[in-house]
Amino acid sequence: MLIARNIQYLVQGRAIVNKVSLQLNPGELTAIVGPNGAGKSSLLKVLAGDYKAQAGEIIYNGKAIENHRPKDLAKIRAVMPQHSQLTFPFKVKEVVELGLLSLGMAGGEQLVKEVMIETQTWGFRDRLYGALSGGEKQRVQLARVLVQVWAGSDQPKFLLLDEPTSSMDIAHQHQVLHIASQLKRKKIAVLAVLHDLNMAAAYADQVILLKEGKVYQQGAVAEVMASQHLEHVFEHPILVRNGYDGMPHFIQSLPVHHQSHTFKIA
């Protein structure tokens, strides 16, 4: 499991991530939501090991992150970045195959094919990555990071996704989050920064609501995704209707001029 305790990440003395503690359990999908500049991506990068936290500790499977070599860390955690550009003319399949890097190459061919079919990228495997649309590129990057954690293992693995669906059409957004939730069966803990509150509510087990670098609320969907919490964090009128009959929560932001008697900026 991944445990972060009181992590603090400062840029020029300003706390971008401020005393955040969290725990990622295998088989759970955790969503991070919050307004622009809340520190969502920074938090993800600190957890991934890109940025070094000035305070606090991050522990992957019982061992502090700084004691993992890059190679060992890559065996248990994969990260999908927000944007990825390639300078050179790589083919789609070559990009996905990069995910095999930390595994050694044995049995890679079959694994790559399986993941590419799952992410609906197998159909354009021979095309150049640079010629794809934004959404297609994201699916290719997702395939690449899935390859890294797909194979079964005795130790828990972690998948960190930074807005994995930002350029996707609605069907592919659901497809991606469906794949992410299927990963729970593989002893994988998934952490996703999500922009779409409805997607977060529909797929997450645990939601972390960030505001100004701090955790405002953290817990199960039904507790965290409540109107008053969301309105406070986003400083905007937001309506939440509880799901019934197995339907997910329905979250709607209201026009600025909408007068809600329940809305107060706390």
């Binding site: 991934a48 890559a74 990825s84 003319p89 790589f90 083919k91 990069l98």
Partner: protein
């Protein structure tokens, strides 16, 4: 059809391409041995190379000497230097994720040239330089290349990330500074040193001998091997530095290996043969356009293609104005500059 074949049998296809390039290099090498101001028939070239087995009937001592003491070392030096420039260009482009980087741009060449001119001009008057002995020029030029590369890299890097536009600016600035300091050194040079440096800077494999070949070989084997070993890391780096780290690449180690390795081989090449431009820029591009971006092919392929290109350029240099010789740097620039312009125009297409 061909692309499908390439995907299903990618590794064997890459081996085939590399094998074909090696074969081409061999054929070109034999041809190049036979051609020149003093033509030697192919059959005699074979006789001299395979000596014992084919006998040396009808081969004159002069032909043997021209082949073994002049052409063969020259050919081998051209191959090694071309290979060094090609592989360093490919690795540096990969490391900086920029197809317009070449060893010259990041300051290896100008740093080596500056230190070479300092050695040539002031070597005899500075005891610590002359104490370096026979390997002094190569060693000193190597240090210069490494130092300048390091400065360019430090100037363009912040918090572990390299800013490409800063890199290019830093390269231009340090190249200009090195150029000025070279001018300053020349200002203090006597006639002999001036003549020495002028010949050195024209870029020329004409002064080749077995000692230089062994020196180049000795300084290249380890760095070239290390750079080839980084092909997976370079593929990962193509997506980005943090992505490469996420995939388990020790990015800092890769940077160091490639920078030191490139500075070593290019510094040695520049010290031995002067500044030969465009090989390091053109060769990796040619390979990417023809065979794709996978560094497993591009890196060793750039070594072979660089060797082929420089062997060809040297053959041209020796034959087009025979019995005189044209400096090889002029040939590579005449071939390379139009290609560079074409590259600038089509850079968008190449990036995708």
């Amino acid at each position: 059809m061909i692309s499908k074949l390439a995907i299903s049998n990618k590794v064997s296809h890459q081996r085939l391409v590399l094998g074909a390039m090696a074969f081409l290099l061999l054929v070109l090498g034999v041809l190049s041995l036979s051609m020149g101001a003093f033509p030697i028939p192919l059959s005699k070239v074979m006789q001299v190379i395979f000596g014992e087995w084919m006998g040396s009937d009808g081969v004159s001592l002069q032909e043997k000497n021209v082949l073994l003491q002049i052409r063969l070392p020259r050919l081998l030096l051209a191959m090694l230097v071309g290979g060094a420039l090609g592989i360093a260009g490919a690795a540096l482009q990969g490391l900086f994720r920029n197809p317009l980087v070449e060893p010259g741009l990041i300051g290896v060449s100008s740093g080596s040239a500056l230190f070479a001119v300092i050695f040539i001009v002031f070597g005899s008057s500075l005891p610590f330089l002359s104490a370096l002995g026979k390997f002094g020029l190569v060693g000193f030029a190597f240090i210069g290349g490494l130092l300048n590369t390091f400065l360019v890299y430090r100037l363009s890097s912040q918090a572990g990330k390299t800013d490409i536009s800063l890199l290019i600016l830093a390269g231009v600035a340090l190249n200009a500074l090195a150029g000025a300091l070279i001018g300053l050194s020349i200002f203090y040079a006597d006639d002999a040193a001036l003549r020495n440096f002028t010949f050195w800077s024209l870029g020329d494999v004409g002064g080749a001998n077995w000692e230089k070949v062994l020196l180049m070989l000795g300084f290249s084997i380890l760095p070239v091997g290390l750079i080839i070993g980084q092909h997976r890391a370079l593929n990962a780096l193509a997506i980005g530095e943090s992505e490469a780290f996420h995939m388990g690449v020790d990015v800092q180690k890769t940077k160091l290996l490639i920078l030191v390795g490139s500075a070593l081989v290019v510094g040695t090449a520049v010290a031995l043969t002067g500044t030969i431009g465009f090989v390091g820029l053109v060769v990796p591009h040619l390979l990417r356009i023809l065979f794709g971006a996978d560094h497993r092919l591009v890196i060793p392929g750039s070594f072979l293609a660089g060797a082929i290109l420089l062997t060809m350029a040297d053959l041209l240099a020796r034959t087009i104005v025979a019995p005189a010789e044209m400096p090889i740097g002029i040939i590579t620039a005449i071939l390379g500059a139009p290609f560079f312009i074409w590259l600038l125009i089509n850079v968008k297409q190449i990036r995708t």
